[in-house]
């Protein structure tokens, strides 16, 4: 059927173009919204000059970026240096292709114009594989800059993304077991009333938690933004980039953020479905947008709240904490699915595991005590003790007897003539 094939090709091209425009617009406005929200949280106003409420700020930024000089360092590997940011963006954009952003226009009758670029039967695998290519853009960019900061940042990024990808994939596998499909469209259909009638978050609370933590690390956002840790690495892999190529990297970061938010929405929060509401034409798009917006806000919120984690702890969290939990979740889910247990059993077990983990961390935090000196004062570790001006060993905290004794001793020494003034 050559006619149908041509229609599909043309429709896919047009839909891709529309999707790219929408994603880039969202990226532009995410930068502005993020700055406004973070400013509000920090008690500032944020950019509010360009246009009403500063709404034209992205445009101003774009113009500024377009006219900035793009410096190519002398020690850079020119070709790779120029290609790397483009690679980042292409990868980020193509990962979004399989995400269904809404219900098909005529439910039950799939057409070439449905609101997703492609419904392939390995949709989720496509996203995982393509988004793990994102590390290439960063590593190549960091390496080809010929700058040690860039190289360190990109190596950090590579290690971090590979570490957290394992937990991320395993966390998603639980949902896949419940849905029994990899196609993103079918995944959403499984969560509608016609399917299993539940959002998979209720069956997979633990999987969702692991996924969110791993996703934040995967897109290099705070508190896991070590690849661009300003205090240590200037700007990490971005150090040598300027102008439009710098904003290409930013673009890739934000589009990746949108992608992981969409995956979280699709796999755990029912995608565009909302218990029958999605049957109203056009509303499914809004439902999807609202859910994704919530996750995007979560990313901003986390960034404004949490300080950056230390690198060794990042690795420990990934390999020694998240990965075992993800494996445990996969085992529990597999058992539940194999035995044909209802979804709430799996959800309950997940909640119990979360509670147990929280209880264990709480108990361990209670065990953390500072050593006590003879006078009963807490002996703080040196890093904390810097804040205190008075050494606890002297006992000055108890009313200054030691200081008085010291003065008395000096006085006697003076009277004995052992000390000359």
């Amino acid at each position: 059927m050559p006619n149908d094939t041509w229609l599909l090709v043309i429709a896919s091209l047009i839909k891709s173009a529309i999707l790219i425009v929408i994603l880039l617009t969202i990226f532009a406005y995410m930068t502005w919204i993020e700055r406004r929200v973070v400013a509000r949280i920090q008690g500032r106003l944020g950019p509010n000059r360009a246009g009403p409420f500063g709404a034209l700020q992205p445009l101003a930024d774009a113009i500024k970026m377009a006219f900035k000089e793009q410096i190519i360092p002398a020690q850079a590997h020119k070709v790779i240096y120029l290609i790397a940011p483009v690679l980042s963006v292409v990868v980020a954009l193509s990962a979004f292709a399989v995400v269904p952003v809404g219900n098909s226009w005529t439910p039950g009758h799939p057409s070439a114009w449905d609101p997703w670029v492609g419904d392939i039967n390995v949709g989720l695998l496509w996203i995982l594989s393509i988004s793990s290519l994102a590390v290439y853009g960063i590593v190549l960019g960091g390496w080809s800059s010929g700058n040690r900061y860039s190289l360190l940042g990109s190596l950090r990024s590579a290690a971090q993304m590979i570490s957290y990808e394992t937990s991320l994939g395993l966390a998603l596998s639980g949902t896949l077991m419940w849905a029994g499909t990899l196609s993103m469209v079918s995944l959403v259909h499984q969560q509608t009333l016609q399917g299993q009638g539940i959002w998979f978050i209720v069956a997979q609370p633990l999987g969702f938690l692991i996924y969110i933590i791993a996703a934040v690390a995967e897109v290099n956002r705070a508190p896991f933004d070590l690849p661009e840790a300003e205090q240590e690495l200037t700007a990490g892999y971005l150090t040598e980039y300027s102008g439009l190529r710098w904003s290409l990297y930013q673009m890739a970061e934000y589009i990746n953020m949108i992608t992981v938010s969409s995956v979280a929405t699709t796999l755990f929060f029912g995608g565009w479905s909302c218990f029958g509401l999605e049957r109203i034409p056009g509303l499914s798009l809004v439902i999807f947008a609202v859910k994704v917006a919530f996750f995007l806000f979560l990313f901003i919120w986390l960034r404004a709240t949490l300080p950056r984690i230390r690198y060794d702890r990042l690795m420990r969290l990934g390999w020694q904490f998240l990965l075992p939990l993800a494996v445990l979740n996969a085992v529990v889910t597999a058992t539940c699915v194999a035995l044909g247990l209802p979804w709430w059993v799996n959800g309950l077990i997940g909640l119990v595991i979360i509670g147990a983990v929280l209880a264990i961390t709480w108990l361990r935090s209670r065990q953390t005590r500072f050593a006590v000196s003879k006078t009963g004062a807490e002996l703080l570790p040196p890093s904390v003790r810097l804040v205190k001006t008075i050494e606890p060993e002297l006992g000055l905290v108890n009313g200054g007897e030691a200081a008085v004794a010291g003065i008395e001793r000096q006085r006697t020494l003076l009277q004995d003539g052992r000390v000359q003034v």
């Binding site: 929200v37 400013a39 509000r40 949280i41 920090q42 008690g43 500032r44 106003l45 509010n48 919120w301 986390l302 404004a304 709240t305 949490l306 983990v357 929280l358 961390t361 709480w362 935090s365 000055l396 009313g399 200054g400 200081a403 008085v404 003065i407």
Partner: protein, 217 residues
């Protein structure tokens, strides 16, 4: 602990509803404290005469050497200030000025005060040297400016005690100038006293003090 993360998230979320601390500056301005020290203003008496009598005390007090004055005698025909002299030239270099307010404190007639004008910017450094015409308030206006806020109220009957109030023992924990007084601290550095060539006047003063049975050097 993991729950602390939730606590932190709640804190930041609460902050979102708070009124921002910053203001949109050119449209909206912050209310300044009454003793704010901005640009200098030269004041007049109600009869139109300038308060400044050209005594150079402000220029002498200025730690940044920002004030330049040329004084001239008042004559019967041309009387500018009620005193003997008036300031013919009064320049304040606001690039040097550190806005410490010493000039205001030094002025015997309350002629110079630091006012609330803080929007000081210029394209050329020479434009930041403010001349008398720019500093002097217009004829017909006679204010005292922020000097009104600088007069301290008389001290209360019960002045603060120099002895530490918590322990009533001076053990060095609560060290302050008021608590210590001058004590036995040496008033002159040793080097200065040993060096005969330096500062004869001071040595003379110290010798006199020693003759009067003061402290031994």
């Amino acid at each position: 602990m993991s729950l602390d993360i939730l606590k932190g998230l709640a804190t930041t979320l609460k902050n979102m509803g708070r009124k921002p601390t910053t203001v949109s500056f050119p449209e909206q301005e912050r209310e300044l404290p009454p003793r704010f020290r901005g640009r200098h203003v030269l004041h007049r008496y109600p009869n139109g005469l300038e308060r400044c009598v050209g005594c150079f005390l402000c220029a002498g007090a200025c730690p940044a050497d920002a004030i330049y004055i040329e004084a001239e005698e008042n004559t019967e025909e041309h009387r500018v200030s009620p005193g003997e002299r008036y300031a013919k030239v009064f320049d304040v270099n606001l690039l040097r000025c550190i806005f410490c307010g010493y000039c205001e404190a030094a002025c015997p007639t309350g002629a110079i005060t630091l006012e609330r004008e803080y929007k000081l910017a210029a394209y050329y450094p020479e434009n930041m040297v403010y001349h008398k015409e720019q500093l002097l308030e217009p004829l017909g206006q006679a204010t005292v400016g922020s000097a009104a806020y600088w007069f301290d109220p008389p001290p209360a009957e019960e002045a603060p005690q120099p002895v530490p109030q918590k322990t009533h023992v001076f053990d060095g924990l609560e060290a302050s100038a008021a608590a210590v007084g001058l004590g036995d601290a040496q008033k002159q550095p040793e080097v200065l006293l040993r060096n005969a060539e330096q500062d004869e006047d001071r040595r003379k003063f110290l010798d006199e003090e020693a003759e009067e049975g003061g402290r031994q050097v």
